[in-house]
């Protein structure tokens, strides 16, 4: 065991500073030295950068370390990953850091079983995925690192204009996670369907984000025929049923044969009122029925 100063450990740029996880132990534990010794190789810190920064900020002069100088480079990386112990929850930025580290030090992710310490399940495409991430625009990387979208969606929409990712990042709170995924899909599919070039796609993005309810608007563009049916039905409901206490139910997605009407009544008068209203609808009901035929 050796004692090293936080200042010394943080004085130089260190490739092992890979993780962006917050410091995980209390100030008191650091002060009272209630921690496992920090792994170092010579006086180079291998793991625990946030904790060492915390110690430095607390004014702690020395921290307890254990020297692993005899380890090879890939073993030191494995050691850092074992200490970090966050298999399955590394951010894309951290994964990129690890891949860049391996590239710099000529370490094989597969030969040294590194991915097994990063992901829950071994993923033969890990390297390719991270390299694709590296090529993403910054705003798309931001969406991924803030867990605002999933990797599969990011990969699918990565061809969209940068403006889209920037706007989505800024307006992220307007959507739930699932809504964001749907929203991204719709934009991607419209760009593909209408073969929009970059300029046209940007115009679409600007237009969509100018609405208070971008998801609703994009759905109307993605599903114009369905939206038209829904709009017509809403108009009929408003025109013929508003305030009547009679509710018209359509089959989901108009995928059915019949509408259903429901109403309730407490006495003969209420019943007669509903029946009279329904009888008056006879003249126009064919307009509604046409929506299913």
């Amino acid at each position: 065991m050796i004692y090293l100063t936080p200042k010394e450990l943080l004085s130089r740029r260190n490739d092992f500073d890979l993780f962006s996880s917050p410091a995980g132990i209390s100030d008191q534990r650091l002060i009272k030295q209630l921690y496992m010794p920090f792994p170092v190789a010579g006086n180079k810190l291998i793991w625990g950068f946030p904790l060492i920064r915390q110690a430095r900020d607390l004014g702690i002069e020395q921290v307890l370390c254990r020297d692993f100088s005899e380890f090879k480079m890939h073993e030191l990386l494995q050691l850092a990953l074992v200490c970090e112990d966050r298999k399955g929850s590394y951010s894309w930025q951290e994964k990129e850091n690890i891949v860049l580290f391996c590239e710099k030090h000529k370490l094989s992710l597969i030969d040294h079983d590194v991915t097994a310490l990063i992901e829950n399940h071994s993923d033969p495409d890990f390297y390719q995925k991270v390299k694709r991430y590296s090529a993403y625009p910054e705003a798309l990387k931001g969406l991924l690192n803030k867990n605002l979208i999933d990797g599969k969606t990011a990969e699918r929409i990565s061809v969209l204009p940068r403006l889209f990712f920037q706007k989505l990042l800024r307006n992220a709170k307007k959507f739930t996670f699932a809504e964001r995924r749907i929203f991204c899909s719709y934009v991607f599919e419209i760009v593909g369907r209408d073969t929009l070039n970059a300029e046209q796609a940007e115009k679409l993005v600007r237009k969509i984000f100018s609405f208070d309810t971008p998801l609703q608007k994009i759905r109307e563009i993605r599903y114009p025929k369905l939206s038209d049916l829904e709009r017509r039905l809403a108009d009929y409901k408003k025109q013929y049923f508003r305030g009547s206490g009679i509710v018209l139910h359509e089959p989901p997605y108009f995928e059915g044969n019949a509408f259903t009407l429901t109403f309730s009544f407490e006495n003969k008068q209420q019943y007669e009122k509903k029946i009279t209203k329904l009888a008056r609808l006879k003249e126009n009901i064919h307009e509604i029925c046409r929506l299913l035929h």
Binding site: G192, Y223, K225, L226, F254, E255, N257, H293
Partner: protein, 357 residues
């Protein structure tokens, strides 16, 4: 017929279970595929993980039920077709195929003990006197893509030929019919061709035969004395779909309509799971909505228009039984005016074969 090279270039390895070795069909296929490594196994689960894909051919015997009802689709009208598992999986790689979702990670399997299925069909025939029976091998694989290697369909055709009102259908996207032409007797065997316009074949059915090849094969089959059927399924609404499908339908006018046993229609549909497996395709950016069976289809008014037009074009080439595959009663009423049970020429096709166990 395809040369052995066609199969040798597609498959990497052949596995054969010991119980399949004595069959003539196995011997025939192994002789043609002798350039490929062949491994004998006792059971399917001995195939290593690296070979669990459709470039592996598994020759084996069927253990369970080989004849079943077409599963149909919840909330949709079923044509009461019966299916035989003979070829499981497909080498044609059509972009929209349900097998992309389910069977891509399994070897293409051939059940060589076809005598079990034939016996079962004869039994069903006897237990349902007077009931028309339609049965086919094209549910979970192409009926003819591998048949020129194994020649398994010939036994079905010959042995079922004597049974009245029993229509044994081989459904294919290939033109591999030559090995069946000389066969006698043919009975009511039907060679069914799935059709799509060339432009869709070129983009979505890349490994299948061209439209011209399929139609030429259909012509050969008719001249040899077979009934034929045509299946426009899936109909995919590309931008100029009306003109390309109309043109395709019109090409059927060259056939004697009395030799066309039936024509079926079905529009593009997919499950959520399949959609996740599929690569991006322009046609998927159309408006699909979830239906009662969980499958996604074009909007009902869109489908209705497609069926109405196809019906109109097909009626122009003759009086041929026409039906829709996996469609709702609403669509049946709107397109045909009634349900298939009330349409005289479809009664036989849609008859429910009650006793199949």
């Amino acid at each position: 017929m395809k040369s052995a090279d066609y199969y040798i270039n597609f498959f990497n390895v052949v596995y054969i279970t010991k119980d399949a070795l004595p069959y003539e069909a196995s011997a025939k296929a192994l002789k043609a595929l002798r350039a490929l490594p062949v491994k004998e196994i006792s059971a399917k689960d001995e195939i290593p993980e690296k070979d669990l894909n459709r470039h592996t051919l598994l020759i084996t015997t069927a253990k369970g039920e080989t004849v079943a009802r077409c599963p149909g689709s919840k909330g949709h009208v079923c044509c009461n077709y019966l299916t035989v598992d003979l070829y499981l999986g497909c080498m044609l790689d059509c972009s929209y195929c349900i097998m992309q979702g389910y069977l891509n990670f399994a070897p293409i399997t051939v059940y060589v003990n076809n005598e079990v299925a034939i016996k079962k069909i004869i039994n069903i025939r006897r237990r349902n006197p007077g009931v028309p029976i339609r049965i086919g091998t094209g549910e979970v694989g192409d009926s003819l893509a591998l048949d020129s290697l194994f020649h398994l369909s010939q036994d079905f055709i010959k042995k079922l030929a004597e049974y009245k009102d029993l229509f044994f259908e081989l459904k294919t996207k290939t033109h591999f019919v030559d090995h069946l032409l000389e066969l006698e007797p043919k009975g009511n065997a039907v060679i069914g061709f799935s059709l799509n316009p060339d432009i869709i074949i070129a983009s979505e059915e890349k490994r299948a035969s061209s439209l011209a090849e399929r139609l030429a094969a259909a012509g050969k089959a008719v001249r040899a004395g077979y009934l034929v059927s045509f299946h426009f399924d899936p109909i995919i609404l590309i931008k100029n779909w009306e003109s390309v499908y109309r043109e395709t339908v019109l090409r059927l006018a060259a056939f004697d309509s009395r030799k066309i046993a039936w024509i079926s229609l079905g529009t593009m549909r997919y499950t959520k799971f399949l959609r996740e497996q599929m690569q991006e395709r322009d046609y998927l950016y159309d408006e699909f909505v979830p239906c009662r069976d969980g499958k996604y289809r074009y909007l009902k008014p869109v489908r209705e228009r497609v069926y109405m037009l196809m019906k109109e074009w097909i009626s122009g080439i003759g009086k041929i039984p026409l039906y829709m595959c996996m469609e709702s009663t609403g669509i049946w009423r709107n397109v045909f005016g009634k349900l298939p049970g009330k349409i005289t020429e479809l009664c036989a096709i849609f008859t429910n074969v009650k006793k199949i166990r």
